[in-house]
Amino acid sequence: MIEAHHLSKMYSRGLYALHDLSLSVKKGEFVFLTGPSGAGKSTFLRLLLMQERPTSGELIVNGQNLATLRRREVQEYRRNIGFIFQDFKLIHSRTLLENVSFVAEVIGVPAPQQRRRAFQVLKWVGLQHRMNAYPATLSGGEQQRIAIARALVNNPSMVLADEPTGNLDPDLSLEIMNLLREVNAAGTTVVVATHDRELIRLVGRRTVTLDQGKVVEVA
C-alpha cells in the first residue's frame, strides 16, 4: 500500500524533517507513527497527502509514484484518502451534515447520495441526531467524530490521522481510537501519528518510532 524508499525532506538551512527514511505499510494495516516532537511524523503524513513534495527518495502509494502525479492527478489521488487532524479542521459556518456531505459534493456525487452517505457516516459516529447543529456547539470529542465521519464519507482506501487525540482527554482518545479500529476492521488502511505512548499500548498495533527524521524502532 505505502512504500517509502530513502525518503528525505529538507527544509531551509539544511534542516532535515525526514532523512533517508524507508518504510512499508501493507494494505489494510493499522500503523502508529510515534516519536518526539520534530521526529518527522507529521511531515511523513504531509508527504502522503501531497501537501509537500520530498526532497529526495520515492514514495509509492497503491503502486503510484507520487512524484509523477500532475496537479489534476493529485486531486484524484487525494479522493482516495481520508484525513483527520488534531484541530479537526471543520467549517464553522456549515452544519455537521453539510461539513460531511460537501466532501461528497465536491467530487461530483449526486445530491441525494451525498445526503444519504453523510447521514450514514454521521449515524456510524453516533451524531446523526445533531446533524443540523454547528461545530462550535460540539465538544472536542464530538468534533473529532465529525472529522472522522468526513474522512470516511467517500469510502477511502486509506485514512491518515495526525495527532487525532491531541486535544482530547484519555477517555475520549480511546473512543476515537476505537472508531479508527472499526474503520480498519472494514479493510481501510489506517496510519496514525501520535506521541501518546499510553494510547498506543492500549490499542496495540504495529508502531514505527521516528527520531530526527529516521526510523529508530519498529515494534
Partner: protein, 295 residues
Amino acid sequence: MRALGYSFRLGWSGIRQSGGSGAFAVLAITLAMIVLGTLLLLTWNGERLLARWSSAAEFSVYLRDDATSEERGAIETMIDQSGVGLSREYVSKADALAHFRREFAELATLAASFDDNPFPASVEVRLKPEAEADGRAAGLVRRLASAAGVADVGYDREWLGRVAATLQTVRAAGLALAALMALAAVVTVATVVRLNLHARRNEIEIMELVGAPLAFIRGPFVAEGFLQGGIGALVALVLLWMGFALVGEWWGTSIRAMLGGDGIEFLPVRLLVFLLAGGMLVGGAGGFAAARHAG
C-alpha cells in the same frame, strides 16, 4: 454543471457575507458601467442621427432672379440626367417667402417690412444616399454651380463631417475613461473577493485535501465576482434609465428643437445586454484574479 451550480450558490452566499466590502465592489462596477452606458447612449444616438441626416441629404440650386425658363429647364434636365436625385422640386420666389413666413412666424414684422421679395427661386434636390457616398453628388453640384441662370448652390456637408469627427473624439475619450474605470472595478472586486477568500482559507484547505477539482475550489470566487458585476451593471442600467427619463422630462423639448425635430432614444436591447455582459465580465475578471490565490 455541478461545479457551476455549486460555484454560484457559494458565490451568492459570499456576496451576502461580504457586507460593506461587497457593496463597495458593486458600486465600483456600477460607476464604470454608468460611464460606459452614458458613452454608449451619446455615441449610439449620435450615430443614429448622423445616419438619418446623411440619408436625408439634399442640396438647393438657387436661381438668379433673371434666369429664363429655358435656363431653368436646362438645370432640371442636368439634374434628371445625372441620376443622383431621388426627387426634385421647384420652389418659386413666392413659395420661398411663404415658407419663411410659415417657419418663422415670430419674425412676421420683419417679413412684412420687405419692399421686395428677397428670396430667390430654387430647385430643391433630394439625393440618393449612394450618390453622396460615391462622389457623384459633389460632381453634379460643381457642374450646376457654373451653369447659366444659377446664383448659388447650397450643399454644405462639412458640418456632418465635423459632427462625425466630434463623435469619434467623444467615443475615444469615453472608451479610455470607461476602460480605466473598468480596470479600477476589476482591482476592487479582486480585493473584495480576496478578503472573502482569506476568510474561507480553512474551507479551501479542506477542499484541496479532499481532492476537490480546481473548478470547485476557485469557481465560487469567480462566480462571486461575476455576480457582483451583474448586480453592479443592473444597478447602472436602472440609474441610466432614470437619468435618461429625467433628461427627457426636463429638456426633451429643447433637445428635439436643437436636433431639428429628432429626439434621443434609450439604448436598444442589444446594447443593454452588452452592458450587462460587460459588467459580469469585469466582475468575473476580478473574481478570477483573486481566485488564482485559492488552491
